[in-house]
Each structure stands twice: as structure tokens, then as C-alpha cells.
Amino acid sequence: MTREPQTQQQDSHKLTVFRNTYDSDNTVFSPQGRLHQVEYALEAVKQGSAAVGMRSKTHAVLLALKRSSGELASYQQKMFRIDDHVGIAIAGLTSDARVLSNFMRQQAMSSRMTFNRPVPVNRLVSAIADRAQVNTQEYGRRPYGVGLLVIGQDQSGPHLYEFSPAGNSYEYFAMSIGARSQSAKTYLEKNFEAFEACSLEDLVRHGLHALRETLQQDKELTIHNTSIGILGPAGVHEQATAASLGKEGVFRILEGESIQPYLDSMLPKEVPAPVHAPGAAAAPAPAPAGGEPAGEAAPEAAPNPGEEMPGALPTDDDVNMG
């Protein structure tokens, strides 16, 4: 970003005003009992474009909005294959996501090497959450600036997890992360009860509807800016490749022409109904929700940077943010 020198000066002046005494080191609590560096990391997640995850009885899917830094650039990669039975979608710093996905791939491969077993998805997510936690406690480190939605399947069926830089991981029926993900969450909360029995096509359509909510006014979902990740048996539009996906249906990322039929299935957007559901997440899946993610914690006096700081508002063309 280029700025006039004067503007820069003004900005730095404002920054001094909002400067927080307890945010330069992740090992020091604020007097309110908060770790500001960790909360800033959660803000980094919100700077990335949105990703939506959901599951039915048979499938788990990821949908993500890809950004491009301009006409001349390609779109940012939003999804990574970890193993045949695990895939992730990311929001935040792409480079941090690559570190985490490499770690997850290593874990998946080492499980196959030692036990000839696909790594249990919950253990994989716990493993990265434990790594993230270390970064919130040790001096000289910084938290990961990326959030993940992880889908996976094992003997107990398909699963969806959210990973956050705070070191938390929760399982969900449906979830969204990234810029304007609250709008998607609102859609998911309204509809998630129907997901369990959905066919793959209906599930993806719901996902696209949720993802659409995160778009800016004049934008729409296209085959260029949308990625779909699927786990589970081949759907109606995948009959040509059904054999290669196997009975269980390995993780695959659909991009370009192959997502056209799914986009075509979308229903026109309703006239903005003023739905405003409280809370962040669509009911965490198996019983006790250990608590809301840290970013959503009760409001306190300390400034919530990012949202409030004028100079730090997310820009849609930040190349580091996927």
C-alpha cells in the first residue's frame, strides 16, 4: 500500500493514541486477563476471505471464496488436501497455513507409516491446536495468523472441525470463518438442522448460499472465485470420476468448470430478511460446547484492534491473506 507521507504520519499518530501497553508480548496478560497478541491473531483470520464448512450424515464439504490481487494475478489457494480422508480450508495468512498443512500431512503420513492407519481426524486437529497453544505461551513466538476448517472422515463418519490460532478446536455441524463470516454463520444457524439428511448436492447448495452471504454488494460467486472441497461418496455431478473416488469418497477439490453445475443449482437470493441471530457458532456438534472461541469473548474495555483501528481495516487485495 502506498500512502502520502503525511497520511502516514497521521496514521502513526492515531496508532499512538490506540497503543496498548500489554500487547507487545504474548507471554504477558493484560490487567483484564487477556492476551492481546492472541486476539490480534484472531483478527488476522478475519482478514482472510471466507470459508464455509458443513456436514451431513454421509458427506463433509468445504466451500471457500478465493481472492485475486488483481486482473494479472491468479487466485489464492484456499484449500489443501492433507490425505485421502482429510482436507482443509483456510482463512488468514496463507504462509502460516502452509506450515500447518505440511505438519498435518506429516502426521497423516507418519500414522500410515507406523500403524498403516489413516490418522484419526480429531487427533490431527488436536495436534495442531496443541502446537498453536505453545505459540500463545512461550516467549519469542507469535501465534499462527490463520484459522482452519478441517473436514475428515473415519469409522464414525464425516466430521467438521474449526481450528483457531488461540489453540482451540471444536467440532461443528456447520461453521464459517474469515471476512464477513458472521453473515454466513447466520445463514447456517438458520438452516443447519436440515443438513444432516441432505444429499451432497443440497449440502453444497446450502454452502454456496452461506458463502454468498459473505460477498460484497456488487460481487457474486463464479467458477473462478469459488472452491469446493468434498469428502464422501461421489455425487450426481461426479459420476464420470466415481470409480476413482472409491466407495468412501476421497477428499477432492473442485475448481473451475466442474463447479458450474453446483453454481447453477443456487436459488436467487432472498430479499434481505433482517435475521440477526445471537452467538457466533452454529451449535457445536457433540454436546458440551466448552465455550465460545476466544475472539468472541465478552466485550471489555480494552480496544479490539482491527475493527476499531481505522488504519488496519481489511483490504480485499492483501496478497498475504487467503
Binding site: N102, R105, M109, R112, A240, T241, A243, S244, G246
Partner: protein, 253 residues
């Protein structure tokens, strides 16, 4: 040394064994056949009648591995993981010649405690031609039209030299000269089957079952395979190369 006999004679642990069996591969113009028997032995004992020695690595590469079973299975697992990581890093399947070079570096990496494995890699090159690469245990390798390895290699290789490389054959007067590596699939498969039935007759470590993998280039006609009860192994990327497997029983005595 004068007092040498006073010390106990050193009995060193031998970390290797030899588990019998034999493998071979033959390249065609636009296909490759990679085959191995399924018997596993130690000494005069048959340990099992079904231990696969031939493995599909990608849609266009198949590896046959023979020698010391523990090294074989460890080596194949490591090759497969390297190929998986290549897929992660490059979002495409590893080309055959790249796999061949990787196998050479992996084998040579253990030059001073070698994998006791004889590897034969077969499949389709990026230019669509059928190819066979053969390796020694420490990584020397070359591309060939055919190769046999393992317990019965000394029985099979001369036969292949004659049938595939046309050694000791002379073209009929006026006929075109022989060109190795261009035989059609319905000639190659019977040669493979005959090689193994013969080796089974004459070598005690060969027998029980035969697995033949056939890798065919993109768009190639596969109607000849139908009559052989070939079973297709689903491809990772449909519409490109295809891999089939043909199974036959061998004598179990």
C-alpha cells in the same frame, strides 16, 4: 595372531534374508507389463502363498520389488510416501522417469547398508511410450525393453533376451529388421505367463500365484485385455493412463 583362538569366534547377527520369488517387466510401444509371483519363502519353507511383490505407485507407474522381504516392504512404503509428498508439493503425479531417478537416490542413500532389493519399475513415460527401468540394490539403473529379477532371473532373462530382444534370431530373408520393445500386448502377455509357468517348474522358490500389471497409455485400445479377465484399478486422474491387473494361478507344489 598367536592367541586368536582363545577368543570366542565372532557370530555376527545377519540382518538379511532371501525370500525367493521372481519378478519381470516388459515394455511395449504404448504399454508396459510388470509381473511377479506371490510365493514367499525362507529356505525350503513356503511362508505364504500370497505375498504381493508388485505395487501400483501412480496411474502410470508400477513397481516390482524382490529380494529380502522386510527391506522390500519398507522400501516400497518409503517410495510411496515420497510420491505422496510430490503430489502434495506439485499437485500432479510424479512422472515415471522422475520416480526412476528418485529410486536410484534412495537406494544409493543406503549404499553402505543397502536395501537388499531388486527393483523393476514399469509404466508410461510423459511422451506416452511404455518403459521399463531396472535397478541393482545400490541404485545403478537403466531403461530397458525388458528385465527379469529375483530367484528365477537366470532362468527367465535368457528367454526374454531371445523373445523380446530377438537374440539369436535372424529375420526372414527380405523381412524388416527386429526392433525390440514393439511387440503387441497379445504376444507379450503369453510370454510373461510362459516365463512364470516355466520358472515354477524348475525353481522351488517360484509359484502359487501370478500377478501381472498392465499399464496402458492414454487413449489406447484395451479390448485385448477384456478376454484375459483383466481387472481395472481405478485411476486417480480418470481419462489419462490406465492400470489393469491380470491374475493367474501357478502350481503350488
Amino acid at each position: 595372531m598367536a592367541d586368536g583362538h582363545q577368543h570366542p569366534i565372532e557370530h555376527r547377527f545377519n540382518p538379511y534374508a532371501e525370500n525367493g520369488g521372481t519378478v519381470l517387466a516388459i515394455a511395449g510401444a504404448d504399454f508396459a507389463v510388470i509381473a511377479g509371483d506371490t510365493r514367499q519363502t525362507e529356505g525350503y519353507s513356503i511362508q505364504t502363498r500370497y505375498a504381493p511383490k508388485v505395487f501400483k505407485l501412480t496411474d502410470r507407474a508400477v513397481l516390482a520389488v524382490n529380494g529380502f522381504q522386510a527391506d522390500c516392504s519398507e522400501f516400497v512404503k518409503r517410495v510411496m510416501q515420497r510420491i505422496e509428498w510430490y503430489r502434495h508439493a506439485h499437485s500432479k503425479q510424479m512422472p515415471l522417469k522422475a520416480i526412476a531417478r528418485m529410486i536410484q537416490t534412495m537406494l544409493y542413500g543406503k549404499r553402505f547398508f543397502p536395501y537388499y532389493t531388486y527393483n523393476i519399475l514399469g509404466g508410461i513415460e510423459e511422451d506416452g511410450t511404455g518403459a521399463v527401468y531396472s535397478f541393482d540394490p545400490v541404485g545403478s539403473y537403466e531403461r530397458e525393453a525388458c528385465r527379469a529379477a529375483g530367484a528365477a532371473s537366470s532362468l527367465i532373462q535368457p528367454f526374454l533376451d531371445n523373445q523380446i530382444y530377438f537374440k539369436n534370431q535372424t529375420p526372414a530373408p527380405g523381412a524388416a529388421p527386429f526392433v525390440p520393445g514393439n511387440l503387441p500386448i497379445d504376444v507379450v502377455l503369453p510370454i510373461v505367463i510362459d516365463s512364470f509357468t516355466s520358472a515354477t517348474e524348475r525353481h522351488i522358490e517360484v509359484g502359487d500365484g501370478l500377478e501381472m500389471f498392465v499399464v496402458v497409455a492414454k487413449g489406447r485400445d484395451v479390448s485385448q485385455l477384456a478376454s484375459l479377465n483383466a481387472e481395472e484399478i481405478p485411476a486417480t486422474n480418470p481419462g489419462e493412463e490406465r492400470v489393469f491387473i491380470v491374475r493367474r494361478e501357478l502350481k503350488k507344489d
